[in-house]
Symmetry: C2
Subunit: 214 residues, 2 copies
DNA sequence: TATAATAAGTTTGCGCTGTAAACATATCGT
DNA sequence: ACGATATGTTTACAGCGCAAACTTATTATA
């Protein structure tokens, strides 16, 4: 994803549009394993601009990291959307697809995942686009959730709360995998992970599948 | 917790025992809100030693942070143990107590929590004491879990996997609270949190309460 | 079309950090 | 008593975030 000349953001200045280039470079550095120790100067160097150029587009390091995290969130959401459309239209299938994609993304991009949920940045009252990205991520899950509630399949608890419960489980497992608190002993490899994701999903499903309110 | 002269660690050198003093100072700095941005020099300054003194006790910054994280984990485990002994001896009660204490700790020490689970440090193959602390944290939960399995109350799935499922849910919710991804809209305050913890626990309990294997 | 205003990028500089190396001193084993 | 070793200090250096002053390209306006 090099400098794109899409209709939206900036015009054609010196660089093209540096803002996006910096975000992309940041994502690449993270992907290359440079860890959460990304610094403004490395990113600038990678793009080929001076080390203070980013300050024309981001107030400080935190704002760049927030933008990177937000882009990562959108990438995750895209991945989820793509997959979830291909599975049968029942709650369990959608839930399992959501969980599987989420965890898969976390394993594929551990450093990015860490950055995405490493706080401080999460001023998502200030940054409305971040809120938007979150809503986008959960949209397919919420939709099947409501459908399932209408069909008396799962508890009538507020869907926001149900979403949070599901997110907690999936995100928690992802976090523990990313932070290496899991495996080490078990079968290792993807097989054990897949099995665990299945267990988490089953627990969620049977825990939520009630006709009353929790 | 100033410099202690317990029987275990080091003798009475120049400082007393600096290692523990550095860990304590680090915990205090984190508690004072200095965030995850703790640096070696501040910690050394706080203790009153030169800024390279820590290198006689920790190979690098990461090792100090790992030690701080480990101490934090033990504090959490202590808190859980203290509480869980006071509740009725049934699975649901113990589970709820575990969850409540875990989340409460996360809310009380968000920065520490972040540091404890911010990766890289988690070489808990290399550091056996960290593994020990983890086992200590989960010991009361595992114990009631096995008891409950024996009584045909919950699924006969491997207890390690069940523990991981429970941990995922509780830790995930804690993480989302710490990173400010939750609340903002809801009732705020501790009431909404308590309610959510209850929902998580209920979901876990009903999701796991089956006589077969998941 | 010329030119002032402004947006985008650069250079320079400062204080801070992590950490390596050389040095100093207290403690302990012999 | 004394050398070895553990502990702490001083000095030094490169890299970082960021502020300020400067340069250059773009845009708006006359």
């Amino acid at each position: 994803m090099p400098k794109s000349d899409q209709p939206k953001p900036k015009k054609q200045y010196h660089h093209g549009n540096l803002r996006q280039a910096l975000i992309d470079a940041g994502l690449e550095l993270i992907a290359e394993g440079h860890g959460a120790q990304i610094d403004l100067r490395k990113v600038a160097r990678k793009v080929g601009v001076s080390h203070t150029a980013p300050y024309r587009h981001f107030a400080d390091r935190n704002e760049l990291m927030a933008a990177i995290a937000e882009e990562g969130l959108r990438n995750l959401a895209d991945k989820v959307h793509r997959k979830i459309e291909t599975v049968p239209d029942d709650f369990l299938s959608k839930l399992e697809a959501f969980a599987r994609e989420y965890v898969e993304f976390a394993i594929a991009h551990p450093q990015l995942m860490r950055e995405m949920f490493s706080g401080i940045n999460t001023d998502y009252d200030a940054h409305p686009t971040l809120r938007q990205a979150l809503l986008y991520l959960f949209e397919p899950l919420v939709s099947t959730l409501k459908q399932s509630q209408a069909a008396d399949e799962i508890a009538k608890t507020e869907y926001v709360h149900l979403t949070l419960i599901i997110w907690s489980m999936i995100h928690g497992f992802s976090a523990l995998v990313v932070e290496n608190y899991v495996i080490r002993k078990s079968l290792q490899g993807t097989e054990a992970i897949d099995n665990m994701v299945h267990l988490c999903v089953q627990t969620l499903y049977h825990g939520l599948a009630r006709k009353d309110t929790l």
